[in-house]
Symmetry: C2
Subunit: 426 residues, 2 copies
């Protein structure tokens, strides 16, 4: 396609999505759940056929010299497909929140005023590699009564096309419009530029992928973006605290997995507990091969830990998202300095305080300006499923509309409804 | 100032606002209310002094040949100032919603997860003419624990500066940072371009003014915008309905005031009641000098009304926001056609159905895709005060974040809070 054709094509997708979104908003919970269950069934029935389409992507990726982990992420194994199918069934089993009416109250004029939860309309999702995101996004779109336009990575195009055909079949089986979920069929990058600049058709864009992709989309989008940039999460060990709890939770926050955005990248320790706490956590990190990038005070205390991998921290370390067995470590005077440090260097994703002090806990909850603020637990819990959202379309590090893990509610809007009995304005 | 200086100046305002916003977020309800009451007192004490500053703007406006209504809107009369003072006192008397915790529930892992309402941070407000908006925005900013940067119209610069000095005095009296409310002191248009492109300092922009201003800001902003474009509101008279109620409400929706965005601009009438309803409302409109732009069917029925000012409607009329004694009139088959027409031509602001039919009412509430959807009452009620919000910073015709009348809640965000007892992720 040339640029003109891509623009026309994307406009067509937009118009079709807009038209489909009206039917989706009217669809009953039973109909939407029927489509989700059909999709689960089709994924299981077509596991072998999907493997063939997937193999074409895998061959191309291997030939193109993609790294083994990258090729791994492309794989639609029977296990991945079964997880997708179960996800659809779980969504089908969830209550439907559309039409929910909130806060209906009578006003002095006599009118009763409340808010009704309705689908937001059309969302666009732009994602890289993992083709199973096609099913995650499609199923969330169906459950939430929205229409969506999906743009996957070019390396997974054959897999995505095959999955999108199954989604279309499931929609049709349930009597829902086939255009409710559309995959951008061209790998032309121009299509992304178009998709993020059609406010007349697309109500919100959700990018999932590397920082470069997300920065580009945020910069160029002409529609709202639910975006997630860095996860520079902090764990702050307060004075007083339960040291055993602090060791267990800090260890989990850093080492349970290194790659997720909610892993802690920075450890702050109150001066009053530093002598007792740092050597113990230092020994844990030393044993697990976690490099510690320390301020002078932490360095002095940790120097005595056998086998500790210690490095002097630079200013840059306080802002870093390592996604690796590395953590920055700093001794602070107490909760005030911890909060000030976090609000200065954090990416506003997730921060935790480990404390026995009620006043410190309350202050930390109120004053830390991040999407998730925790007391006495692991930052790794910042996740839509762990928060009981039932599903997660993304995590937002913005404050507008949706903040933190975004579930189905983030794909809705609240419109005002007003019931009267002939009242007039005077 | 040259462009470079304007950029530096605006950056300084942004940084100062950001710093002040942290103190504002921590301020107690008592402190914020003290500032609001001080502001009310200062407005009353300085009524005479403000008249002198205001006179400079009025002279300049008259000399520049501004129209009488434009000059009128600039006036800071004792009555306008008293209304501002009362607004501040009303805000002070309202409950404080910051820190409110919503939906705290224990999850299977043991952690308890909820959401805390916190100020959004810094908002920028860009407005034209009426200097009293300075006080409205400042008082909402104080109550909501945000910082704000205000950019008023150049024609009201002396009045705005004088009001901003009183706001600063009130903040200081209460022990709040003087930079919590800052007025852009230059009338250079470049300052607007800067203000809407500082995502590092400004969390949301709220423009209030003509469509040209709002379109420019929406197009160029690099931060979220709470914007209100057209108000092409519809009243749909259903079959069956209470005709007396329908006459009273339709009359109110169109003629109580012609200029507000929530006045009805389009009247849809179900065929089954058109013969009974249209001549009666036509007589009311004829008596009040309201021009009716009709489709052929309405035209035929209304032709018999003595003194009716009838015009054949063009396609353009269905999308028009007249803000004048003009209304478009169309006969439709019933509720389905009414909804389809509204969703096609409306600006998604406010629509009302006047009906006795429960099923039609429910369908209209669910399917009309507008910020406010009403049954048996006047579209003129679409207003923050009438909805019980206590104050209104603007009306949004978008679906993202805030929809319809925006009160203090629209200036907040919900962050997740998580309480644990040492839980770890496994």
């Amino acid at each position: 396609m040339n640029a003109l054709n891509v623009a026309e094509y994307t406009q067509t997708l937009g118009l079709q999505a807009k038209v489909a979104s009206a039917s989706m908003a009217r669809a009953t919970p039973a109909t939407k759940n029927k489509a989700l269950k059909a999709l689960a069934r089709l994924l299981r029935e077509n596991t072998a056929a999907l493997a063939l389409d997937n193999a074409r992507d895998l061959e191309r990726a291997t030939a193109a010299g993609l790294s083994a982990p990258m090729v791994d992420r492309l794989k639609l194994t029977p296990k991945v497909l079964e997880t997708c199918a179960e996800g659809c069934e779980q969504l089908a089993a969830m209550p439907d929140i559309m039409g929910e009416v909130l806060g209906m109250k009578q006003q002095p004029s006599g009118i009763r005023v409340g808010q009704m939860r309705v689908p937001i309309g059309v969302f666009g999702m732009i994602f890289e590699s993992r083709p199973n995101v096609t099913i995650e996004a499609a199923s969330l779109s169906i459950k939430s009564g929205n229409a969506c336009i999906l743009r996957g990575g070019s390396e997974a195009i054959e897999s995505n096309k095959a999955l999108a055909r199954l989604v279309e079949q499931a929609l049709t089986e349930a009597g829902l419009p086939a255009h409710a979920v559309q995959l951008v069929q061209t790998t032309d990058r121009e299509a992304v530029g178009q998709l993020i600049a059609m406010p007349e058709y697309v109500d919100v864009i959700i990018p999932r992928g590397g920082k470069g992709l997300i920065e580009r989309i945020s910069r160029e989008a002409k529609v709202p973006v639910i975006k997630h940039l860095d996860g520079n999460c902090h764990t702050y060990v307060d004075d007083p605290c339960d040291l055993d709890l602090a060791i267990k939770v800090t260890d989990n926050a850093k080492t349970q997995k290194y790659s997720p955005c909610n892993a802690s990248e920075s450890l702050l320790v109150a001066r009053g507990v530093a002598q007792a706490f740092l050597p113990r956590i230092g020994a844990v990190f030393a044993q697990k091969g976690v490099e510690m990038r320390c301020d002078a005070e932490a360095l002095a205390i940790l120097a005595a830990v056998p086998g500790a991998n210690l490095v002097e921290a630079t200013e840059q370390d306080w802002s870093e998202e390592y996604l690796a067995p590395i953590i920055s470590v700093k001794v602070v005077a107490g909760v005030d300095e911890a909060i000030a440090h976090i609000n200065r260097y954090s990416s506003h994703h997730t921060e935790a305080i480990l404390t026995r002090d009620h006043v410190h806990a309350q202050q930390f909850l109120r004053e830390v300006d991040s999407a998730s603020v925790m007391v006495n637990t692991s930052t790794r819990f910042a996740d839509g499923f762990e928060y009981g959202l039932g599903a997660e379309i993304g995590i937002s590090t913005d404050k507008f509309h949706a903040r933190g893990p975004v579930g189905i509610e983030g794909l809705t809007s609240l419109k005002w409804i007003v019931l009267g009995e002939g009242e007039i304005r005077t």
